[in-house]
Symmetry: C2
Subunit: 213 residues, 2 copies
């Protein structure tokens, strides 16, 4: 019974790793589409989001099935149900990648990111990708140390986010309202993507250590 | 045993109703603070968000306890775990109310909403309050019909959201970048608040009917 439980939990976790890889790839492609005005790639991100949604359902079904058949209690139950919260965060990261891709589509063939902001968004996308890479590894290896490092990356994202606003609100900002609105919303999507990655990290710390950080 | 189960589920649901009332009040106050530049009220919203977070933990603990002790399966299990998802949506609605309140605080004593956008935000806050009122009633009465109406209110919110952008992007927009960035982010907070309310509605439909809509 307990062995079955561990096996099934491992299977759920494997699906979470697959999801995390998919949302990493989604934001990589969305960022690339955004920075190079690549219409095809942006469309691919929106089309493939359905796959991430399916993975979410798979996690949900497996968790429900596991709880119903194994009837875990206390700590074990909490572990199993944490998988649902991780899946919800990952699913949302997929949605945010779609928002970035849609921003690229909306302005195509013009770039959605004006040259004045391109470096900042390149850095934000690098930080986002680093966060996503870390949650893939942290989930795969149940690595609480790696997961705990996410907070630092998130600080870097917050710093870039503040810089973005100071550029757009500077009296030297040479562009209009549309570019600033796009910049503000895109900045928010990256910031939220990072927040959800940090949530996943906290859950991994909990799963690996058995206690909330 | 089954009677206990139903009693405990009712208790969980009562906490969800309390949470829904709290997030309705939070957005009412945040909107009022935003539209009247009321610093004290805005601070109250940010301070009271901790209460909503506590309610979230209460729901979580009760659900875990219920599952561990009653070991529900299949449909019953799904119902219980849906409460967690409702609580997560409500908790997020509380956060979004805080974002609106913080926007008011950031610009105080200047208004965060410029006169050109005040009518639109008044309408958005009315629609948001209507959505929140409906989820309070829908949760309290397990009313699937009321819950299903939320989609219409959400359409109204989307319509206002599009109008907001068309005002800010019009060549006649007399104001600068800062007012537009504030407008875009505030618009997004109201839109997300509505999205989460709609999610809650879908869950209520599922809870009341036993099937996904």
């Amino acid at each position: 019974m307990r062995e079955d439980f561990q096996d099934e939990l491992t299977r759920v976790n494997r699906t979470l790793v697959t999801m995390a890889k998919a949302v990493r790839e989604a934001m990589r492609q969305a960022s690339s589409a955004l920075l190079t005005s690549d219409h095809t790639m942006a469309q691919q991100v929106t089309a493939r989001d359905a796959e991430i949604d399916v993975l979410y359902r798979v996690v949900e079904d497996r968790v429900y099935d596991l709880v119903a058949r194994q009837q875990p209690v206390a700590g074990e139950l909490r572990k199993v149900l944490t998988a649902l919260q991780v899946a919800a965060d990952l699913e949302r990261m997929g949605d945010l990648s779609v928002h970035v891709a849609r921003a690229a589509l909306r302005r195509h063939p013009a770039p959605a990111v004006v040259p004045e902001l391109a470096d900042l968004f390149r850095e934000m996308s690098t930080v986002a990708d680093g966060l996503a890479a870390k949650i893939v590894s942290a989930l795969a290896d149940q690595d609480a140390v790696l997961a705990a490092q996410l907070d630092r990356d998130d600080d870097a994202m917050d710093h870039l986010h503040r810089e973005l606003f100071s550029v757009m609100l500077s009296p030297r900002w040479p562009l209009g309202v549309e570019a600033a609105i796009d910049g503000a919303l895109l900045g928010r999507y990256y910031e939220r993507y990072a927040d959800h990655a940090v949530n996943v990290g906290h859950f991994v710390v909990f799963l690996a250590s058995g206690k909330d950080d």
